[in-house]
């Protein structure tokens, strides 16, 4: 029986879905004690969501922190793991998780398996799968230590399926003192899009060099709005100035795992495929029937994207109204 801690990241007043993905998956392996930890307050809804997934106890760590701090979060989480003797500490491989978790794990000289996309437990032993070379291959990851072990899980990789055993967790507040922090966040400048980040989006509509200019991305935004999707771009489109760098999907951009990826005018270079090949369903629109993207697409439309995309928007509008 292992003692497991799940770091719960919030966005506004909601729990990030990756925390629920982890709790659901871990719950498929009964017999472990699973705690959750929040830095700061616990949103009321989160307690219910975690109870539905068999969480034993919810820690609410209070300190002098008023905003995110890599050193602060690392200190709080590593202190809790050490004090409570957790065997495993899970967190989502989000911007925040990828940033502070390595500090937390190394503070305890513990290993961290990062960006894990699937796992099983055999008794108390964790076996994970993670991508290498931007997803061009997969590898098994396991630990060789008796001390605490840290794992970051890629958002959207596990999904939320799984029958869970419920529980009635209590919330325990803990006050932890922090030394003065050195790197301080002075300001957060919001991004231009209100939509989900590409790495967490459920549906993505992406444009390639065939978009010809940045104004034409408007038709992709219209399609995305109907679907509740986030808009991405290939490197070629970004390098040509048609889309912002933060929109780039690919080996040197973002790696995404949506349920649906619609690639518009994207040829399908290896580096782009590396960033989106784990999408559950891929739709490709390209006027070249030999474009490599069609080898990875579940559904392909060989045609002019400027004619196809607006029609897609119309049809989805009809379907979803």
């Amino acid at each position: 029986m292992a003692k497991i801690l799940i770091f719960c990241e919030t966005q506004g007043n909601s729990l990030k879905t990756v925390a629920l993905e982890m709790a659901t998956k871990i719950n498929q392996y009964p017999g472990h004690i699973v705690d959750a930890v929040f830095i700061g307050n616990v949103p009321a809804e989160a307690t219910t969501q975690l109870a539905q997934r068999g969480v034993n106890k919810i820690f609410s760590l209070k300190s002098s922190l008023t905003s995110y701090s890599p050193e602060g979060y690392a200190k709080l989480i590593s202190s809790l793991v050490k004090e409570n003797g957790h065997d495993y500490c899970f967190a989502g491989a989000t911007s925040m998780g990828k940033d502070f978790l390595p500090r937390a794990s190394s503070a305890l000289k513990a290993p961290l398996a990062s960006d894990v996309t699937n796992f099983i437990f055999e008794g108390d032993t964790f076996f994970g799968t993670r991508p290498f070379f931007a997803g061009k291959c997969l590898a098994k990851v396991e630990f060789k230590t008796t001390g605490p072990k840290f794992i970051s899980i890629r958002p959207n990789a596990l999904g939320l399926e799984g029958v869970c055993k419920e529980s009635s967790p209590n919330v325990e507040e803990k006050q932890i003192s922090l030394d003065s922090l050195r790197a301080i966040v002075k300001e957060v400048v919001k991004g231009t899009s209100e939509k989900a980040d590409l790495t967490e989006a459920n549906i993505i509509v992406s444009g390639g060099r065939a978009m010809k200019n940045s104004d034409n991305f408007k038709i992709l935004h219209e399609l995305a709005d109907v679907l509740g999707a986030t808009v991405g771009a290939s490197r070629a489109a970004v390098d040509s100035g048609y889309a912002a760098p933060a929109m780039q999907v690919g080996q040197t951009g973002k790696t995404v795992s949506p349920s649906l990826y619609i690639a518009c005018g994207i040829s399908g270079a290896i580096q782009h495929l590396a960033g989106m090949r784990t999408s559950k369903i891929i739709v490709a629109i390209n006027s070249d029937p030999e474009a490599p993207i069609f080898t990875k697409a579940d559904y392909g439309i060989v045609g002019d994207l400027f004619k196809v995309v607006p029609l897609l928007t119309e049809e989805f509008k009809k379907l979803l109204s």
Binding site: F100, R103, S106, A139, E142, R182, V188, V283, K296
Partner: protein
Amino acid sequence: MEIFVCVKQVPDTETKIIPKSDGSFIEESQIKWIVNPYDEFAIEQALLIKALKPDTTTVTVIRVGQTRDSEALRNAMAMGADEAILVEANDNLDSLSVAQALKAAIEKSGKKPDLILTGKQAIDDDCLQVPQILAELLNMPSVSVAVAMEFQESQITVKREIEGGALEIYNCPLPAVISCNKGLNTPRYTSLPGILKAKKRPLTTLNLAELGVEAPKILYSNFKLPPEKPAGKKFMALEDKDITGAVQQVVQLLRTEAKVI
């Protein structure tokens, strides 16, 4: 001022990845090795800072890896780095061991680091750990995924990119470890004079065994290709008369067959 830049040599992005038959790693004989693209932003940033006070700033590049990795170090020196350190080690170290080796090598150099720069991630393992671990081991602050940096004498202002293209703006005192993202700067090309100069610059080789690093606590195995998808359905819509039909069919299939809408 002492600046250290940690670099890695990785397979070129065009490389076809072939797992070894025993799954222990990938076939390495056909690989074209390049400097990790994100590390180029780190090297360039170090050189930009050095340009502010060239006579009193030293840029040392450092790599924990195989002997062939001295190529990446010579490349960095061709761009303008002053010195290089190679810690010879096998590639099966985990992030914690690599960071411990980097720390030991930096300490052994006798130089007191003011700033340590790295790429935000290596494009071979995408672990995104070493910079932050190194900072923790050296008891320094860290800011990762830096897309902008303003350098003052004893502190820096760093813009960090997070989800949704949002930016966290940090004030960070030195010494610090900063990991660099695309957009921070435009890495310079190496010139022939630079390449020739690089051959004469000092490259110190250390052996991992002399640095007191722990054995790796993570084991990677069973490298294999991801499962292939079955072939998809393709609808021809090059003629105007076929477009509506193709679109309607795909939308229906996305609902009824794929069940994603």
